[in-house]
Symmetry: C2
Subunit: 339 residues, 2 copies
């Protein structure tokens, strides 16, 4: 269900790392809570691959770490997600297959303008996010170290690993194998491709043990096939546009904090430059952001703790579906915010 | 490169578990070595998903466990692999999209006829195989317990797990998203779909750490993309037919020794009925036959040892590409054969 209760920050003509200017660029965002008079209570919580701002709200609530009665929580929408500027909502000539390539750094630069220009915020108590939201979290900490006090990236990495790129190649190949995709110039969605993409994703999103234990029953499904159709195909048919998905996939595949200006591709140096306190939370059985990768990340951070989310939910441990995983993440957020 | 140095066992009108009769069914096989006068030195080594008999030969050789100077090694081709009866080589009306569904039990029943009728063999020293070859190994041991003395299934399971089924759904969806597939009635291969399938497979076949360590360099590739095209797309374009791949995929998804007549779907009882000595060898980082699944298998076998193939090659630890993994498997085969 599409929601419209968001605000828009007009970026004007926004020059991208690629060299293209995204004219009339729009960063859509949603806020929760009130900004304190001294502007000291701001949190940024970016969206994930294909996620929209309302799909972040499971981690926000009174009594939770992200408590809108205490914090001013800004949820910026990733470019390409269909709410911020995207292939699906940009007028010609930069619409659909011609939507320019946007990097994670471009996203964070836009979010930085929102935070500083619209709200006059100079310090962020916390940046946190799931998956590509975690990647944006790292990108924030590298691009604006003096501004970011704490980070809690969950189920995401500062650099998209080669295996992760390959997994995404499979996803992309399935979507674009559908002739109805028409290289992005479709008038109706390539439904077969979207459903194929969903089935490819299904094996990656949850762990082997999740399926062995039939934990999809926890989500109210009564057979494996009904889960594949109801959850996975439903997920990718829920207002998600093929060109948008491909645009965000491009962003994801190129994710690397080393690509931040000034670091010349040196990911390790970029990580070492982070001054924020960090709790880094991969999920135990995440198949595309495996914990071993985040061990590597933490080894390059100054003050970071690796805290693995236990259990069988794999990548979707960070998706808000399993109350135990949500409680585990929330507890870590509380602890980090209290430091 | 297609080879033709194989023999054919004519099964005649071969009734399948599905109820369909595969008329003029042909089981293609290749033998290595000579059958002893007392017929006591036979080994069966079935092929894997999409593999042809010549792609098993890396594990056969003088001085190796599968030594053709000592053993009579029979390599039967899986139905659907393009050498035995398959969609691509069966005359109308059971050709292409109408090729009947074949189970692993059907395969083993056909192989049993070959072994007993053509060669008069009553005991098998060993059945071994990789992946779907491992699944056939288990199926042999359940269907003909009095005949199978030893089994060494590597990187495969007695029952296709739900996660494995889901992984295959993704593979299938990518292939069939290509409109050129035409529900199996193509005149030329659906190339886009085959390449999409290859890219989906690429993330599953090797582990995350394999890609992190760029172990594709061991195989002579100079970039990740050249590995995806050269190895993976090349793999699925190498004489592999879309309908054949779908036929074998059907067989794989339904793999379950519990479906052997007499066990009424009870996989655990079927496993407990195995009398063969077993060394069960999953690969440490296999993403679709993970070691934890084979721990479960071994817990239901009477006399079995779990011996995990270490390292980062994932499922393809059993594919003969990495000399260390091959040596590890070979050593276990020698040990088992010496018992």
């Amino acid at each position: 269900m599409r929601r419209t209760d968001y605000e828009v920050f007009d970026l004007g003509d926004f020059a991208l790392q690629s060299g293209t200017t995204l004219r009339g660029a729009k960063l859509a965002y949603k806020t929760h809570g009130s900004l304190a008079d001294d502007r000291s209570n701001a949190v940024v919580y970016p969206t994930w691959y294909s996620g929209r701002y309302w799909e972040n709200e499971w981690l926000i609530g009174e009594g939770m770490a992200l408590d809108p009665t205490r914090y001013f929580i800004i949820v910026p929408n990733l470019f390409g997600n269909g709410v911020s500027s995207s292939p699906s909502n940009t007028p010609p000539p930069f619409d659909r297959a011609r939507f320019p390539h946007v990097t994670l750094y471009d996203n964070i630069r836009a979010q930085h303008r929102l935070v500083t220009e619209r709200f006059g915020i100079e310090r962020l108590r916390l940046v946190t996010g799931w998956s590509m939201g975690a990647q944006q979290t790292y990108q924030w900490a590298v691009a604006y170290p003096d501004m970011v006090e704490r980070i809690l990236p969950f189920c995401g990495s500062p650099r998209t690993s080669d295996h992760n790129k390959v997994f995404l190649e499979g996803v992309k190949a399935a979507l674009t194998a559908d002739t109805a995709w028409q290289r992005g110039w479709y008038d109706t969605q390539p439904w077969t491709g979207l459903r194929a993409m969903a089935r490819v994703y299904a094996g990656w999103g949850f762990s082997q043990a999740f399926y062995w234990q039939e934990r999809w029953r926890d989500l109210g499904y009564t057979s494996l096939e009904s889960f594949l159709v109801g959850f996975w195909e439903g997920f990718f048919l829920d207002g998600r546009d093929a060109n948008n998905l491909l645009a965000m996939l491009w962003t994801w595949q190129r994710g690397d904090v080393g690509a931040t200006p000034g670091f010349d591709g040196d990911t390790e140096r970029a990580l070492a430059s982070i001054t924020a306190q960090a709790i880094v939370m991969p999920a135990q059985k995440d198949l595309y952001f495996p914990p071993e990768d985040e061990e590597w990340t933490v080894s390059h951070l100054r003050q970071a703790e690796l805290r693995i989310i236990p259990g069988v939910w794999g990548h979707f441990a960070g998706g808000g579906l399993n109350p135990e995983d949500t409680a585990f993440i929330d507890a870590a957020l509380k602890e980090l915010l209290a430091r």
